[in-house]
């Protein structure tokens, strides 16, 4: 009993002097010193086109909607909160990631405007941005090309049912070789267009634009009177669907599959096959009868699937082509009665329209050449097949490359 009492008293006395750990002088956020992104934007607009130097101890909280990791922006971040979004310009590169919730200390920052874009400038990422937590994902607002306006500048949006315009097919997002920025135009099925601008440093800058229709997630930007979209990640560009009506066939070989879509590789003479080839971010169809040692006699057809032009009154074809070395030209043929299977050299009636296309005139260097628009209106009203016919001999033969086949009707 005595000992229990002793211990109880002892513990009571000891726990009475519980000690809190020390701390350096506390820095607390004063009430009223946190402002929202729309207040920042309004603040700048009040001084537009001049800028505002922030000297007070103010803070803004937000979530990073675009980071620098893919190279499409550098020394920049986009920040969004429930009131709006803003471009943040950094004094050095940072490791902040999409989804990071951050506090930015604004003392020393500068609000400015460039070509209509409101910028929170002079932010030292090491000293002024403090990460609060990670993986706070903001969903993009689904918008249409029509509905995006200047008021959406810096906002994360998603466009659905859009595609790269016909004119831009075959090009890359930007000039990766010269590390120069470039524009690609997106359109919807109503023909409304909008600019996507990509940096030559973006990890996908050298990739060929996809031909399909689908969705794109991006940040809204502006260059004076133009709206410009900025892609965060190529993974958020999902243009794999069927293009808008009016374009019945498109093949860009980016799926690395010669036969997808019903195309057929048919060898009549020899063993030379059409193949896909990947160079510099682009995949295309390639054929040569040179096996590295000798040429061999070849006749190889690359046949389209059946095209239904029964409702069409006009149709056209375009593709990119490239040839090198000496030998026979590539032939372009059409047929309205080919049954879809069988040896094309003995089956169906084929009309040679080689002369209607523009062919790569330089047979001693690489580089794609556009065929121009080939009128197929004479073959509408029923089914149509088109074919590329490759000819090689035992003494020579060219290498031919074909890409971005588009048939409209």
């Amino acid at each position: 009993m005595k000992k229990l009492l002793f211990i109880a008293l002892g513990i009571a006395a000891l726990t009475a002097c519980k000690k809190e750990p020390d701390s350096p002088p506390e820095n607390v956020i004063k009430s009223g010193s946190v402002i929202t992104i729309d207040s920042l934007r309004n603040w700048q607009q009040a001084f537009s086109p001049g800028g505002v130097s922030i000297t007070d101890t103010l803070h803004v909280y937000g979530i990073i909607t675009m980071d620098e990791s893919e190279g499409n922006i550098y020394k920049n971040l986009y920040l969004q909160d429930h009131t709006g979004a803003i471009q943040v310009r950094l004094t050095s590169g940072s490791d902040f990631a999409v989804g990071d919730s951050v506090r930015i200390a604004l003392a020393g920052a500068y609000l400015s405007e460039y070509a209509g874009v409101i910028q929170l400038d002079s932010i030292n990422p090491d000293e002024m941005i403090v990460k609060q937590s990670a993986n706070n994902l903001i969903l993009p607002e689904v918008m249409t090309i029509d509905s995006i306006g200047f008021e959406d500048e810096a906002k994360l949006v998603k466009l659905e049912n859009v595609q790269v315009t016909f004119a831009n097919l075959g090009s890359t997002w930007a000039d990766a070789y010269n590390q120069a920025s470039a524009n690609v135009i997106l359109e919807d099925c109503n023909g409304k267009t909008i600019i996507v601008r990509s940096s030559g440093f973006a990890s996908w800058a050298g990739d060929e634009v996809p031909m399909g229709n689908g969705s794109v997630v991006c940040i809204v930007g502006r260059y004076n009177s133009d709206i410009q979209l900025t892609i965060r990640s190529i993974n958020e560009v999902n243009l794999t669907g069927t293009r808008c009506a009016g374009q019945i066939l498109a093949k860009d070989f980016e799926d690395d599959d010669l036969n997808s879509g019903g195309w057929i590789n048919y060898v009549v003479v020899g063993t030379t096959l059409w193949e896909t080839k990947y160079i510099g971010g682009n995949t295309f169809a390639n054929i040569t009868n040179w096996n590295g040692t000798v040429n061999s006699a070849a006749e190889s057809w690359y046949l389209s699937p059946q095209l239904d032009l029964s409702n069409s009154t006009s149709a056209s074809l375009s593709f990119d082509n490239d040839c090198n070395y000496s030998g026979d030209p590539l032939q372009l043929l059409v047929s309205t009665d080919y049954p879809g299977t069988g040896n094309p050299s003995t089956t169906g009636t084929w009309i040679d329209i080689t002369s209607t296309a523009s062919w790569d005139p330089n047979t001693s260097a690489w580089g794609f050449h556009p065929s121009g628009s080939i009128d197929l209106s004479a073959y509408t009203g029923g089914n149509l097949y088109i074919a590329f016919k490759y000819i090689g001999t035992n003494s020579n033969g060219r290498t031919w490359e074909i890409d971005n086949i588009v048939i409209s009707g």
Binding site: E68, E127, V130
Partner: protein
């Protein structure tokens, strides 16, 4: 009632004032090198404290139930009694203090494995009378190594365990005191593990002991003893949690790797090898004038080698697999998940090119590095072309030579017992490096890679400016070469009175310590203050203690003790980066210690109990480390002055017989071990000694002293059978474990730019707390007698439930990056899973 009131008042006082304690962070700062910017941590699974499972010899011999239980059952959790470091317990050999003057620590390694000799140490814990010397505030342990302590006859034992070593064979022989006045004793102990509990570790040790004693007459005897232990150990290391998660192995060890031999075979090789062999020689003379007067005089000498073999590299990537830039988190933090996943897969798949030292890669790097060293070996025009080593294995030596003299007189005058003693110790440590293995290269150049990057003047990079560009071959001394000389002299006196109701004692000690550095090399960065003798740093100190035992009855006691001490800082703490220069902390001063305890003790044949309240306060300690500081972008010497500590707590132990051979025991230790000041930091650039920051306040007050459970409890049962057998089990629980706070995180500068609402505020400042843990241990034994032969079997199983989740030790990394406060998380080790020790002993 009055007693209780007094006690309460006493405790109240201890809260009102502040008390302190020892520097727990002193893991092994001498290992803290430029190669290794975090302090090397001695794993629990290591053998440095001779915790070889056969129960800490020191504690086991204590009859106090608290000390005995805590010693065996709390050992694995790194529990420290009263939170003291082991420098607060003095280990005597034949009455001569044997502490290391450089570090203050005891040096069990010198006689490791000689359990037959050291087992019967006389141990008293805490503040107490001491028949040898003033002793430490944690108590003392005297190992009598004279020939007569070895029992007459043979004692042969074999032990098998799965801990740091696998096998131990011991043989001991003694004559006892013979009619001719001579006694002889011999003991040999071998311990071996090709691979220990942890992958890639190994253990080889040979301990030896020989003693001869001559009794000239009833008054005079002379004893001569030599003993030593030669050890070589392949060691393990500890990690951030990420490494344990990736490997799925809480006992991972990156110190080893596969090396392909010329034969094509692949062998495991450890890159961190500790070697030591520091034998002890003693002569001691006993003079028993009569029953009331005894004079013991001893001379002790000890010298030998102690070193660590480890990797060094030049102009090459860090070979340590756990270097932070080789972990996935480094890339995740850089928002580069692609590279992170590549590393993650390599680690998860156990690709030993990533998870272990890649020896073949190191050899390849050396093999491909053809280099022409101009003006080699300090000779202009001496251009040597060869394979310059990028990676080497080097030996870092701290070879000790020490000589001690102690003489103590014990005399009874009526009810008064007087003890008086003299003691002097000289210790010289020689610190230098030798080349152990060039890993296929032709030579290494003796320059400092960090200095080469930092200074324009090429001489600055020279470790030995007298011979610049020295080409180093295997066996050559290089890098640093200096001596540290330490002297300590003390006189002490103690008086004890034994009265009917009270026993009193009081003791005082005066001591003088001085030390200096003597550099052999002229370092290129410190040409004026690296070669030759430094200033002598002298410290005079005094200590006093007193205590009383109040005998309520023959079975009940109340004891109270108090002490006041001043202590010199150790040379290790005073000198900053002595490898390169003669440079010290500013104005080193003595530490001050106050301590006291009060106990209530019951001692009945069937129940024994002790309850104690203690406090200890330690003031003005120095703390200094060298590490890479991201704020200053440089290796820095980070020095804290005025570090205060306080400890208080309650110890309770009870051991009682329940029925027949069944007894139960319970132990409870509640402790509060805290930092008790806001130390001041001085920061120097390591390569230039430039003072970069001074009078920086470190907000450490009330942070917990880390690396140990602040509190622990144990309950156990033991059954002793009639035919010389016993079995026992204890359940142990450990509470309030923290990592020791890294000072630089607790500064105003560390949280600059953060507000209290930011998660970084707490992540930077909050002390890392470890989850409470438990163990279950079983112990048992049986003895047989066959004629004149005694056979005894003994065994224990620790952590029977194989609890592998318990973090038993670790530290916060000193490195800290304000832009990513979790970039350098704590490193820690997990307690060993189920482990056992079984032993058979034959005596005849």
């Amino acid at each position: 009632m009055l007693k209780k009131f007094t006690l309460l008042a006493f405790m109240g006082l201890t809260c009102a004032f502040s008390f302190a304690q020892p520097d727990t962070t002193k893991l092994s700062s001498f290992e803290d090198t430029l190669n290794d910017n975090t302090p090397v941590f001695v794993s629990t699974l290591d053998d440095d404290n001779e915790g070889d499972g056969n129960v800490s010899g020191l504690l086991q011999s204590s009859r106090d139930v608290f000390a005995a239980t805590a010693g065996f059952n709390f050992f694995a959790a790194r529990f420290r009694i009263r939170g003291y470091n082991n420098d607060k317990t003095t280990i005597f050999i034949n009455g001569v203090p044997t502490g290391d003057l450089v570090t203050g620590y005891s040096q069990y390694y010198k006689w490791g494995g000689l359990n037959d000799v050291t087992r019967y140490a006389e141990t008293k814990k805490w503040l107490t009378t001491n028949p040898y010397h003033f002793g430490g505030i944690g108590g003392y342990s005297n190992i009598d190594i004279s020939a007569t302590t070895i029992r007459k006859g043979w004692r042969i034992s074999y032990a098998n365990t799965n801990r740091t070593y696998r096998h131990r064979l011991m043989a001991t022989w003694g004559t006892g005191m013979q009619a001719n006045g001579w006694a002889f004793g011999v003991s040999v102990s071998g311990r071996y593990a090709q691979e220990g509990y942890i992958d890639g570790t190994y253990f080889n040790a040979l301990g030896y002991y020989a003693a001869a004693k001559k009794e000239f007459n009833k008054q005079h005897s002379l004893n001569f003893t030599v003993m030593g232990s030669a050890r070589e150990r392949g060691r393990s290391n500890i990690f951030v949690q990420e490494v344990y998660d990736l490997t799925g192995n809480v006992y991972h060890n990156t110190n080893w790797g596969y090396q392909t031999l010329a034969s094509g075979d692949s062998v495991k090789r450890n890159a961190n090898i500790a070697k030591d062999h520091v034998p002890v020689f003693t002569v001691n003379h006993e003079w028993k004038k009569d029953d009331n007067m005894k004079l013991n005089t001893s001379l002790l000498a000890s010298f030998g080698k102690m070193g660590v073999q480890r990797l060094n590299w030049y102009d090459a990537k860090d070979p340590r697999p756990d270097y932070y830039k080789y972990l996935p988190s480094y890339y995740y933090d850089k928002n580069d998940p692609d590279n992170a996943r590549i590393l993650e897969n390599a680690w998860i798949n156990g690709n030993t090119d990533f998870t272990q030292i890649n020896w073949d890669q190191l050899y390849r790097a050396n093999d491909n590095n053809l280099y022409t060293q101009e003006d080699a070996d300090g000779q202009a025009g001496n251009n040597q072309t060869g394979k310059r080593a990028k990676y080497v294995m080097e030996n870092q030596w701290s070879n000790e030579l020490s000589i001690s003299f102690a003489s103590v007189l014990n005399k009874n005058i009526d009810k008064l017992h007087i003890t008086a003693g003299l003691y002097h110790q000289y210790q010289r440590n020689h610190y230098f490096k030798t080349m152990a293995d060039l890993l296929g290269a032709d030579w290494w150049v003796d320059v400092d890679r960090f200095a080469e990057q930092q200074f324009v003047d090429p001489i600055a990079a020279q470790n030995n400016a007298d011979t610049p560009n020295r080409l180093i071959k295997v066996g050559d001394v290089f890098g640093w070469d200096y001596f540290m000389h330490n002297h300590e002299s003390t006189v002490f006196g103690q008086a004890q009175w034994k009265l009917e109701k009270f026993d009193f004692y009081a003791a005082v000690e005066l001591s003088d310590q001085f030390f200096y550095r003597d550099g052999v090399y002229k370092n290129g960065r410190f040409q004026d203050n690296s070669q030759g003798k430094s200033e002598v740093y002298n410290f005079f100190n005094y200590s006093a203690k007193a205590g009383v035992v109040y005998k309520i009855s023959g079975r009940q006691f109340i004891t109270a003790n108090g002490a006041y001490l001043t202590e010199a800082p150790t040379s290790q703490n005073v000198f900053i980066s002595p490898r390169t220069r003669d440079f010290t902390v500013p104005d080193p001063t003595n530490e001050t210690i106050y301590t006291g305890d009060i106990s209530y003790i019951l001692s009945y044949p069937k129940v024994k109990m002790r309850a104690t309240y203690y406090y200890m306060e330690r003031k003005n300690a120095i703390w200094s480390r060298t590490y890479y500081n991201d704020e200053y972008n440089s290796f820095v010497n980070y020095v804290l002055k005025d570090v205060d500590f306080w400890h208080q707590g309650v110890e309770f132990g009870v051991d009682g017989n329940i029925v027949g051979g069944l007894s139960a025991n319970g132990v409870f230790a509640w402790g509060q071990h805290l930092y008790n000041s806001r130390p001041t930091a001085y920061v120097y650039r390591d390569n230039s000694a430039e003072l970069i920051d001074s009078n920086k306040t470190v907000y450490l007050q009330n942070y917990k002293i880390g690396g140990m459970p602040q509190s622990a409890a144990s309950v156990g049962l033991k059954y002793s059978g009639k035919n010389y057998w016993f079995v026992g089990a204890n359940f142990n629980y450990f509470m309030d474990i923290y990592f020791d706070p890294s000072p630089d995180r607790r500064t105003e500068e560390a949280v600059q730019g953060f507000v209290t609402a930011d998660p970084q505020w707490e992540q930077t400042l909050d002390q890392h707390k470890i989850a409470n843990g438990y163990t279950l241990n079983i112990i048992g034994g049986k003895s047989f007698k066959f004629g004149d032969y005694f056979l005894s079997l003994f065994g224990n199983i620790s952590n029977v439930t194989n609890n592998t989740n318990f973090i038993a030790g670790g530290f916060e990394q000193l490195r800290f990056d304000r832009t990513n406060v979790n970039k350098f998380p704590p490193k820690y080790s997990y307690m060993m899973g189920l482990n056992y020790f079984i032993m058979a002993t034959l005596r005849f």
